[in-house]
């Protein structure tokens, strides 16, 4: 039996400080998601026991699951808050719990610092080298089959779900995470990106690279875009082995 309110239990706290839980009740509306619950708290920042508090801080931007900003742990599962619908999370009025991701330093409340993921993109040279943005004619031809492999890989939002779920990604390891391995596959598939494939493979073979993957396969379960992360890891695993075995021949 659905109720006319939504109960939220939210883990709050400061950077480096202790956490506390606050509980809220907000009016239930049709097509409500976790973001609209948090927006209700902004409009009336009062806990369930009637105590005035401050609005919850969280990160968000597009609210349609293409930007990756509003990633958090909802009812124990990492996902985007915008696509987390109340009717699915709390069909009978069950409380919904919100926590910040655990693999990144907390900044405040539900906001964490995900800079480490962007740093990994720099380290693996995650781009296609071009000679400039001036006119050099059309790009290389690409088959429809290749495009159908590349497009899903290119939808990675750097949201952090995969690394949150990954047992090998934490503050004691340098592992760059499955998302970087999958993106390396994308750039190495591109007809001109392929020309720098070796350099990217070297980065994946270095510290924090592909050998740190423990094959837990959690990543692919939580990816909101359904990116075939484990398939990418095995493809790139083969590529790095080939390079490790025969790369010295090619270096000349």
């Amino acid at each position: 039996m659905a109720t006319d309110t939504v109960t939220l239990k939210i883990k709050r706290g400061e950077s480096g400080g202790a956490s506390r839980w606050e509980e809220f009740k907000v009016p239930r509306k049709p097509m409500m998601n976790v973001i609209s619950c948090l927006m209700e708290i902004q409009k009336r920042p009062v806990t369930v026991d009637g105590r005035g508090t401050t609005p919850v801080n969280w990160e968000s931007s597009c609210l349609e699951e293409v930007c990756g900003a509003c990633t958090m742990v909802i009812n124990g599962r990492v996902r985007q808050a915008c696509s987390a619908l109340v009717k699915d999370l709390s069909p009978k009025g069950e409380p919904i719990t919100l926590e910040p991701m655990t693999k990144f330093p907390r900044e405040r409340d539900l906001v964490v610092n995900r800079q480490r993921m962007f740093d990994a993109l720099r380290a693996t040279r995650a781009w296609i080298e071009i000679d400039g943005s001036h006119q050099l004619g059309p790009g290389p031809k690409v088959s429809q089959d290749d495009q159908e492999v590349m497009y899903p890989l290119s939808r990675c939002m750097t949201c952090g779900c995969c690394v949150e779920a990954c047992p090998n990604y934490n503050d004691r390891s340098d592992f760059m995470g499955p998302q970087v391995i999958s993106l390396t596959r994308l750039y190495n598939m591109h007809p001109s990106g392929r020309m720098q494939a070796g350099g990217r493979l070297d980065a994946l073979m270095g510290a924090g690279g592909i050998s740190d993957c423990g094959k837990a396969q959690n990543c692919v379960q939580v990816c909101p875009k359904g990116i075939p992360l484990t398939e990418s890891i095995s493809v790139m695993g083969r590529e790095t082995i080939k390079r490790a075995l025969f790369g010295w021949l090619l270096k000349g």
Binding site: M31, M32, N33, I35, S36, M39, Q42, K43, R44, T54, P55, N57, S61, C62, L63, E64, E65, V66, C67, G68, A69, S83, L85, K87, E107, R108, D109, R114, F118, L121, R122, R125, A126, W127, I128, I130, S133, H134, Q135, L136, G137, P138, G139, P140, K141, V142, S143, Q144, Q147, E148, Y151, S154, R155, M157, T158, L186, Y187, H190, S192, G193
Partner: protein, 672 residues
Amino acid sequence: MAAKSSILTQSKQVRRAIVVGGGLGGLMTVIKLCEAGIPVDLLSLVPVKRSHSVCAQGGINASVNVKGEGDSPYTHFYETVKGGDFLANQPPCKGMADAAPGIVFMLDRMGVPFNRTPEGNLDFRRFGGTLFHRTAFAGATTGQQLLYALDEQVRRYETLDVEDDRGVTVPGEKMVRKFEFWDLAGLVLDDSGVCRGVVAQDLKNGAMRAFRGDAVCLATGGPGLVFGRSTNSVINTGSAAAIAYKQGAIYANGEFIQVHPTAIPAADKLRLISESVRGEGGRVWVPKDRKDRRHGKDIPEAERYYFLEERYPKYRNLVPRDIASREIFRTVIHEGYSAEGEQAAYLDVTHLCKTASGKSAVRKKLEGVLEIYEKFAGADPYENPMKIFPAVHYSMGGLWVDFEKGADGSLKPGSARNQATSIPGLYATGESDYQFHGANRLGANSLLSCIYGGMVTGPAMAAWREAQAQSAFDLSSTLFDSELERRVDEYAALGSRSGADYSVNPYQLHEKLGEMMLQKVTVERHDAELDGVLASLQDMKAQWRKAAALDPTAKGTINQPTVFLRHLDGMLALAEVIARGARDREECRGAHYKPALDPELHPDDPKAVGRDDARWLKTTLATFEGEGPRLRYEAVDVSLEPLAKRDYGKVGAARPTPGEAGRAGAGEYAKE
């Protein structure tokens, strides 16, 4: 003594340019500046990879004529200005259409996974306002894919060293320094009114800092949040543009707000269902029986009213957005049609999905869009017609920017005047400028205008920088310190708003603002209501002064409620520009529509002028004076193509509606 254009100051500081905003317009500007050898500080409210450009779904226009239909950049140019109801200056639009094929090729070289033809060429689809296949696309998340490509190129510049004038690496200095989670707080203007830098705030700890810049660009997006719920990202408050406007920049054509015809209604935002759905064959309809409460899929073909196809047999479901929105609004609101009794119409692709191969073709081209419906509306769009309604989507208006016309009548490349705001040294690009879309933007022209704007802005900033007698980096620090101090004090005052004097919750005030603007300043505009809106805005501005800092004790950390006060102030200022512009413009043009002035509704009323080129072929220029906007007008450059009736082949009158007889025959476009 170092030359004025040299990269390093005498104290070995790197002379940089500043770009605020990391969407497509900002990133393209950064790339062009870097290619010109100019190091950049890039400031963004969010990590640039999370900018609003990701939301663009359908594609980017370029007349490559891959399908051999006889399309050309000139046709694209003409359809752009016609789609904009001739309010756009023609030379920049010509420049944009001519550059479009090269832009798509560049993006292709950067690795955007565009959809392909069997030969491996770029594939193109149809969009509104044209009969050609002109829109390149990457699945249904083209904006995301384009943004990622530019983000990657800028990330590359984050790794490249700055070189001094002799080509020697400057230790520790990279071509691009990113400042993500930074919010613009003010512009630094010198005694002659030239923009010399910005003051910005680190949202992670509240610290403010002045940045010097030898040319500054705002690429900060549109003001969709003025309307509360829209298709925009929640970061699109228009705050940076409002700050520039309040510091003297002209804001142009604010009243032209595009309402997209097809969005999913919801509590937190209205999610777009891309025009590409109609481009790939999606149809818009309502049940013929106004009282029909059956599910859409249970209503037989013969009992469906395909009102766009009946009214516009040539363009059918692909009339421009302003027209489609108005027709849906009228059909549902005034004529009383509904979808399952809700205020909505159906957008339907189920007829394309009857066979397995048809369904798989739709999935390939539209999966990203249809997934949004499935995720957020909780119904399968391959089986169920989607319930949609118009939503605020895009601002054609924005910061006024200049252009220089070349000998060929197009934009003159490299001129420092291009994309320059009315504040010298300050540039604007992307949705935060007003330049390319006139009174209505064509679908798939926004990604193009953002990138083209950036391609023009970078070289313009470089030319401006070169022409300055003195660099911002050689000015006394007093100038920067005083603006910094002013903004620090301003923020401290906002942050200390607590106690009985501050009884207003800013988020509730924002909700009130949004509801009012949404109801009264979107698809249909009535003068009496606009007068009411302008009066209410005065009241809301007074309430803003009583709005509380909801987290007054949080210092040195994230404090979203206090920062929101600054953004709400900007939204109120822009709301007034929008409403004042709408009130004063006595005609119907593009997205600006007043039923009282529609000659089809009022054939015998001489005041119902429709589009009035004699009096209103003018750009609205708003300047902030005292407390609010003062409007002036300037002529539009229509030097390339003569004005024409904006006709998309509408036939017949709309069905007469009981009790709404005066509204039958809706549509400002003449019948054929």
